[in-house]
């Protein structure tokens, strides 16, 4: 066997093992655990200096009530100027939350499917606008998403009916309703759900 084939087999066995760990069943914590913990704690009280520090660091908390209409007027004027400038057809900067988004390509091989969509915590499990496409009639389904840093649960919705976790994802989680979802982690502009 060539070295490359050997390495590939080795990686595959590690991935299979990781997948088994992902699907390990958990023991259920005792039913009264939360109550037992909550019964042993008292409400916290911040020290006086922390309360004052917070007030200083939170400007609107210290603003007198009379200043509110003035602040609103300033916001309206600044917002209006920005609105008219933005409508002159010139180049516009991308929205500030665009920064840090990472492209994530999801692929599913399901030749017999008539249509496939991606549902997940990033679209509130709504398939609208998240239909997958394929280049050839038998080819794999694909969709590129742009996601910010975080952890997401997702699954494929096949022919509007079948809820299928991503077979390529190592991370799977029970949704509590009898379905399994896959998990995806976007970390500093990259995805690493399948990194071993």
């Amino acid at each position: 066997m060539s070295k490359q084939a050997e390495r590939s087999r080795s990686q595959e066995s590690l991935r299979l093992l990781a997948g088994q760990i992902a699907r390990l069943p958990d023991a259920q914590p005792p039913p009264g655990l939360v109550d037992a913990i909550m019964g042993r704690i008292q409400p916290k009280k911040r020290p006086w200096w922390q309360i004052w520090m917070r007030r200083i660091q939170t400007p609107w908390a210290a603003v007198p009530l009379q200043a509110v209409p003035v602040a609103l007027a300033i916001i309206l004027i600044v917002g209006g100027v920005a609105f008219f400038k933005g409508n002159r057809g010139g180049p516009t900067a991308p929205p500030s939350d665009h920064a840090g988004l990472a492209p994530v390509t999801l692929v599913l091989e399901w030749p017999t499917a008539r249509k496939v969509a991606v549902i997940g915590s990033f679209n509130h499990w709504n398939p609208e606008g998240y239909q997958m496409h394929r280049d050839t009639p038998e080819g794999p389904w694909r969709l590129i998403l742009e996601l910010s840093q975080g952890r997401y649960a997702y699954a494929f919705l096949i022919d509007d009916h079948w809820h299928v976790p991503d077979p390529h994802s190592l991370l799977q989680q029970d949704d509590g309703f009898g379905n399994f979802n896959s998990a995806l982690i976007v970390e500093k502009g990259k995805t690493n759900a399948n990194e071993i």
Partner: protein
């Protein structure tokens, strides 16, 4: 639960809202309890230690840095409590005492990766994991079972991101070696 939501809850707790802490306990009781169970092997001890871990977190919540993630911080505190408990008990983890024997002779014929895993049913994997040193076992659980990124795995275990990657990689390799070893020697269950 994302970091912003966690920070909002933590601020509310610090302002005196105990119910916000119940949300965090409810969210993280399962992984903490399961970690305690892996460490001690005794459900009653796991229950007590889980309570202690959350109480310690509550007592020290002022020291939590909002730039970090709550779960790795909680996990670190829980792990340290479990280690102290085991030292006090002067015993190794009950889980680690279990013998691990992966494949029974004659099962999983062939040496391809898929054949190797035919013999790894859900009951054997926990035993194999229990036999791994804690540093590898917890890295694998955090990475693949809890779905943490490598940075958070490192934070929870008190090592760098590259250290976490190394533990995950070596842990997987060790597990595979244990499977291979048991398969080649044809050992049987002894526990």
């Amino acid at each position: 639960m994302d970091t912003t939501e966690e920070n909002r809850l933590i601020n509310a707790i610090l302002d005196g809202d105990v119910q916000s802490f119940a949300v965090l306990v409810h969210r993280y009781q399962r992984p903490v309890y399961n970690m305690m169970l892996r460490m001690t092997g005794i459900p009653e001890d796991a229950n007590d230690l889980t309570q202690e871990a959350f109480l310690k977190v509550y007592e020290n919540l002022e020291r939590f840095r909002p730039s970090g993630r709550f779960f790795p911080w909680l996990y670190t505190i829980g792990l340290n409590l479990a280690r102290d408990h085991l030292r006090r008990q002067k015993s190794t983890a009950a889980a680690a005492r279990e013998h691990h024997n992966g494949c029974v002779a004659g099962v999983g014929q062939g040496d391809g990766p898929r054949q190797l895993f035919q013999c790894l049913d859900a009951g054997r994997l926990p035993r194999l994991l229990a036999a791994l040193p804690e540093e590898y076992r917890e890295a694998l659980i955090l990475r693949f079972h809890e779905g943490l990124g490598m940075r958070d795995v490192g934070l929870a275990l008190g090592v760098s991101t590259s250290g976490a990657k190394m533990r995950v990689q070596r842990g997987l390799q060790r597990l595979r070696e244990m499977l291979n070893l048991n398969k080649s020697t044809g050992s049987t269950e002894t526990d």
